[in-house]
Symmetry: D2
Subunit: 382 residues, 4 copies
């Protein structure tokens, strides 16, 4: 049985790989080695590991690697610490294949540890263009990976352009879409009763915004101004608002500070803050949102499939393939507010399969079970 | 004045960047920040830092990062430690541009620390194809770098294929060639009298082989068999032999053990072991060698310019552009011995500018002084 | 001029060494090298570094070393990372003496880095008995330190018993008392208007409790039950309450979670949460408190001098010398509530010089300027 | 069954704990968890791990932690890395008791990782006085340890003086003596035929010196002068000499360089260099030596039991309890040579049980199986 080690290192990672976890776990020829690390272990980011355990995914190992500080230097150092820790874990686990998700610094740590240890490396979300350090990291990981599971043909084309051999590239769709595809509308579940968080009491049956804005690490230092434009726009709209705390990237503290200040100065504003949702509940949430606001890739990925109205702010997703459900705006309160109004007025968009048809998990597991395992790479010249 | 931070992390790094160090140091608009780290600090690898100091390059900082062990896992962990240490140094030095050399794990550490810290990253030797993890790492660094100084047009073409913008690519030639170009034949200097090392007394005026064989980390575990084929071939040739200890990569100990065993069982064999030569003396050495044997890139790079007869063994340089001075063989004592005999009989080859014309250092300094400094990257689709 | 490197690694460290920072800074024969690290850099713990800068203490270097997770393992690992980072800093700073404060893991990191690097190590708060890992660490640091600045004769006696030479021990009093001694009662400053925090609006002119309860790392796992006893007692008292978030030790998250839960379930309870106070404001706060509740050493140290009514809970301060101002109770809501009532009824106690007379800072600076600097230690047998 | 985790981190550690490894392995109520780390894994220091495996001790985990460089700063950093790595291992192994040996930096790493993780810590060789950083570290570990296995009553007395409770102290003798006690004289085994090494051919049946001189880290920088006095003395004696390479401490490279220089300039001198001996062979070696020269504690410990003539040089063992078999000298070639001549002329001394009677291993295992396991410590005032 092939040992497939999947490293889940953040809240976002989990939703983007959950269907693969299930498919690998259930596959007769595969054995899942689950490593949970980085911010996926942290209370401050919603203790994703506990959500996973409740879902039946018990980690074989955990791996603390976040050096607290939320600066570019601590982000670099966390990558370094992650490599040290993951190398120890891989020595013990001896996986046949390591699967790493997307493009964050912990993903980079996984990729370096595996590739220097001559372990076959598989990668999801390769070949996507987005701007920011995330894109550089995503491509760098591609150049170290031996198996690619891009979301769509366009991404696969980028991988080939970069010299990756055709037979190492498998267009499977993105596993994050699998959750959106499984989701059935019309259920009664009221998330506002299920989750804790802090802030005003919200009404599940009235319209609400969902806001999720992460720091842009290559624009470190501008985060305060950026979040305040969004806050101002939301303040003007004055609709019920679900706000998710940002991820662990450099600049996160600046955002958190502004949000706490907003909450403290506007005690009566109908906003509620959450650390995390279960991935399927997150789908539920954005499916029900009047508009998803911010710079999370989920608006562009899962949002496309769900037809969710999305206002995407700033450069963090620039260049990423998107459907008709997205309005792009700059960090201007006026623009943001106008776009939110437009999306709320428009309502749902059509379903778009641009990031997959909802069957990625099974496809990836089948390929992992049958592919040639090797660490030799050859550059294919154009 | 722009602060250019150059990180020299190995014996080989130094020769490959020395002319740039000089050119940056002398440039009126540039200020050199020299960081020396990893095996360049270690006695076991010839204390390159002392050689550099004697040459007038005083480090602004040093950076120990080698976790001893010579295994794939320690190589990964050393990369991690290097990132942690370099991030601290970069915080203090605040360089405008970080320049990293080639493709080793310390190079990767430099690239990750700089790019996560939003520092403009320049890179030499990008776009070369060679097989092995080195090639993957080289390309991954390319995808994080903002300025590229490839050795030749073919390499530049590979960079462009991978989506790097044309205006970030500067074909300068490889700085290692600058040393070969400066070197004047006919000098009397006898290196065997200058350097210590251990082993038999050699005669500078009689023909000799130079052997330098590094571990191939992606073939970890086969190193003993590989070095023993080379030893057997050298034993059969029975010419005077200068043998350099291998670099710090995983598998290095296996090679060292076999060499010590050979020396101890053949006390009368005319072989002398060295840890390091000054870069210009190394040029002198291979220029005078009857044949250079092993898998160092120097045979292919500097060797091309010098017309040195080279026997290149195994996969470590596979795919790398080469001139007519190289005979490629597998890890077979018969093949190696036959190729050495053929090269010794042939003597010098013609000079080939395939890796540069000897003026890379000045060109790179001028570009560093005048280029746009930024950390934004855009993928150029084919 | 002697270079005195003082490492401030937590919110609590700062108040405990502030008067020494001033005295060293002003001393004609001393030059202060200030390193700020660990939780003193973190927003989550009140960004002590910013408070320090506002007070005129600009760090020569900062040192992120907290591996987020709040478990015993991350606490150990943070110590390890701290050693790595501090060793780099000490290499650059080349101090004559390193001064480390008290007994936390970052203190241990400082002590190990300095002593392995043959740097003379000075230590405050040695020789105090308290139970818990803190005591073991405090004594271990004593055995590595070359200069001791204990708070009182009893502590000095413990140092001598452990074999420390008499001429290395200087009873100076604890610098934390200096702040209490400088403080003048009767000022009008209303801290509730000055500081942010979250929670109910409090009235400076009405009586209030101050609560500060840290995790006890050697009782990891019992933190939830322990904090809930305290919460229940406070809930019953129903007086205005200033609650400070706990420090970074293992178990901190469990406490934070319970506090957030309490706040969310009791939105009308008159409690306000703070991350940090400036050290002199903290003195103001506990001087004005009707009762200080929890397990902070400040109740026992500064509290003694101020005569503050203190309820000390659990084992964290067990064995520590204390004055008449402290009532010790176990983790029982009944006991805690009864003791609070008793202290509130009693009001202020007499001033007690048990931890110093308020002149420690100047004394320590003078000794640092005139003492013999060496790293040789000799055990003195009883 | 109690899980006893023993961490072996150097060549010397192994001989000092081997009999405990056997006794724990064979004990019906104990389960051995063996961790091998640091220089015990390194080829440069004789690959102790391979010797152990050949002896039937298969590691449950290995732990690379040596940051190469042999400076005070890398020694500190290796301690830090060791803590990080060992904390990960302890998380997986979940031992009931961790046993750490003696006083090196890796020992410190073990002690800190275990004690911050609330694991009961046992320690051998506590309470010995020797000068140098080793003594400080040994005492610091004592203050963190919960169980003490000192070599003799005098050491036990020092532990009690330092406040350790009487019921945590077990005078068992030093396990290193067990090997000396098991050894039977008169065997024919010729070690010079069994071991490799480099240098002249030696004659097992003719008299020989054994030299082992480690760097003194608190005298870093004086190592070259110190070793050269010893070399000069040995040169004058001109007896057959077995020389062991020094350990990994800061300054090790300086010693190695001088030794290589000596060998290269005196190719005909009858000296042979070794990296390591199996612990029982090491006993054989020093039992047969005409004189043991240097600053290893083995001359004082095992040497006392064997009655081996020993010349102890410099401060590294100053203060350590010794028998009549030792002549102490300073770093003077004259003094050293004179003392060697005196010892060679004297021959064997009487057996002395000062460091144990040869039954420590079994005693320690029995105590580990029956003692109370806890992490609470209480200081006992004199």
């Amino acid at each position: 049985m092939r040992k497939i080690c999947i490293v889940v290192n953040s809240r976002a990672n989990y939703g983007r790989i959950k269907s693969v976890l299930s498919s690998v776990q259930e596959h007769p020829d595969l054995s899942l080695q689950l490593v949970v690390g980085a911010s996926a272990l942290l209370y401050r980011f919603g203790s994703t590991v506990e959500v996973m355990q409740a879902d039946g995914f018990v980690p074989d190992a955990t791996c603390h690697m976040v050096i607290e500080g939320d600066t570019p230097a601590t982000m670099a150092k966390s990558t370094g610490l992650g490599i040290i820790e993951l190398a120890s874990l891989f020595e013990g686990l001896k996986p046949d294949i390591v699967l790493t998700v997307a493009d964050r610094y912990e993903t980079m740590a996984t990729a370096i540890a595996a590739s220097y240890m001559n372990i076959c490396l598989a990668h999801t979300q390769g070949g996507e263009l987005t701007g920011s350090i995330d894109e550089s990291v995503r491509h760098a990981i591609t150049k170290m990976a031996h198996l690619h599971f891009p979301s769509n043909d366009k991404a696969a084309g980028i991988l080939q352009q970069m010299g990756e051999p055709e037979d190492s590239i498998f267009v499977t769709g993105c596993p994050s879409i699998d959750l959106a595809a499984e989701f059935r509308r019309g259920e009664a579940k009221n998330l506002f009763e299920t989750y804790g968080g802090t802030g005003a009491q919200l009404d599940w049956n009235a319209p609400f915004l969902v806001v999720l804005q992460h720091p842009v690490t290559t624009e470190y230092g501008q985060g305060k101004a950026q979040i305040e434009a969004t806050i101002e726009a939301v303040r003007r709209i004055r609709m019920q608002t679900v706000w998710l705390w940002p991820n662990v990237d450099a600049g996160s503290d600046d955002i958190s500070k502004s949000l706490r200040m907003f909450q403290s100065h506007n005690p009566d504003f109908p906003v509620h803050f959450y650390r995390n949702f279960r991935p399927d509940d997150y789908v539920r949430l954005i499916d029900r949102a009047a508009c998803l606001v911010g710079n999370s890739s989920s608006g562009i990925r899962e949002g496309a499939f769900l037809g969710a109205p999305v206002v995407n702010i700033g450069s963090r997703q620039s260049g990423r393939e998107r459907g008709g459900n997205v309005i792009d705006v700059s960090h201007s309160a006026d623009e943001i507010a106008a776009a939110i109004r437009q999306q709320v007025a428009h309502g749902k968009h059509a379903c778009d399969h641009i990031y997959g048809d909802g069957k990625a998990g099974g496809r990836i597991a089948d390929i992992l079970a049958s592919c040639r395992i090797g660490v030799h790479k050859e550059f294919v010249r154009a």
